[in-house]
Symmetry: C2
Subunit: 204 residues, 2 copies
């Protein structure tokens, strides 16, 4: 086989990343061998070691690559404006819908929630996710503080508690669905779920 051009090389890199997504999501991090991924990507382990430092680095790069859509969904929901409640409802509903519609996003979530242990090797990849989470919680806290001050939400609400409650609900909800995806349609149920959450937060 001839040597590939720079553009072709980038394609194989993407191919490996995609193969990693597929195989990691199927077998979990520890149980997948680099050769499984190589096979799925139609390359050899040599190619993987050329493009990535090793198993852990490949994992981290994959997480970064395929986690981007999440940030975009979150951001777009903000950009579309409206009240804080509107934004959070959009984020909730869009995240749930994307989880059911977008196989890549589903795979990434399955991998990071159910298919990888927190071990030293993956420290960096995990740290990334944690950062994203903390950032999100921070955003929530500030938003809640304002919304409460503006009278958009119940005056006796604690912003910190509310932020955690929202975050916990969303993540718990997604996790519940991921564990048994046939038990219900998260895409259809999401609007009712957020709605229920907010009815307790709104001023009576």
């Amino acid at each position: 086989m001839p040597r590939r051009t720079k553009e072709e090389a980038d394609i194989t890199r993407q191919t490996v990343l995609r193969a990693a997504l597929a195989v990691f999501s199927q077998h979990g991090y520890s149980a997948t061998r680099l050769e499984d991924i190589a096979e799925a990507a139609r390359v050899t382990r040599g190619a993987i070691y050329h493009h990535f430092g090793g198993k852990a680095e490949l994992y981290t790069d994959m997480i970064i690559e395929y986690s981007q859509p999440i940030g975009r969904i979150i951001q777009q929901a903000i950009d579309e404006g409206g009240t804080f409640e509107d934004i959070l409802k959009r984020q909730f509903i869009r995240m749930c819908a994307a989880l059911e519609d977008d196989a890549d996003l589903r795979a990434i979530q399955e991998i990071s929630v159910m298919k990888t242990e927190m071990m030293p090797d993956l420290a960096e990849g995990i740290a990334r996710k944690m950062e994203g989470m903390e950032h999100q919680v921070q955003f929530l806290m500030e938003g809640f503080k304002e919304a409460i001050a503006c009278g958009q939400l119940r005056a006796d609400l604690d912003a910190e508690e509310a932020a955690r409650a929202y975050f916990a609900s969303l993540n718990g909800y997604m996790l519940l669905w991921l564990l048994d995806q046939s038990s219900f349609s998260i895409k259809k149920s999401a609007p009712a779920a957020v709605d229920m959450l907010f009815k307790g937060m709104l001023p009576s």
Copy 2:
């Protein structure tokens, strides 16, 4: 070393189980070697293979052993009676408190949520947990149905949705805390959290 009596053997079994809890919770399932556990338990791998079938079986037995307190908390909250709301609030608060107070329970949750991948080996242990979950969701759905019918909760509430919302909130909340245990005290926050959840479910 002399051979141990039957009672002593049971003690070593317990010792191994406890060591497994400690080591698994620290390094995760895949990354811990049987020898690490043996070392922590002050025995050899021989002892482990004598008492358990192997790594996966030890894991399963450990999960079963240390998951029992969870069931007891859930059940006791039921036995103490009161309205359905009372029961759920107690369950929520007690689970959160136990998570912070009881190192064993915390370790088991950390292991099953963050420190083990779903892989074929652990199918049985995971299936156990899933069964417990489904049982819990079933209980919730029936309870919500009754409570809604009795007028204890908002009439326009969907029992299935409500059950999922409660379950998702509790699990999401515990997960959030487990990920960063220093960020807040789940034991102190839990009452406010359930309260917030229910204010949206109560009839206005």
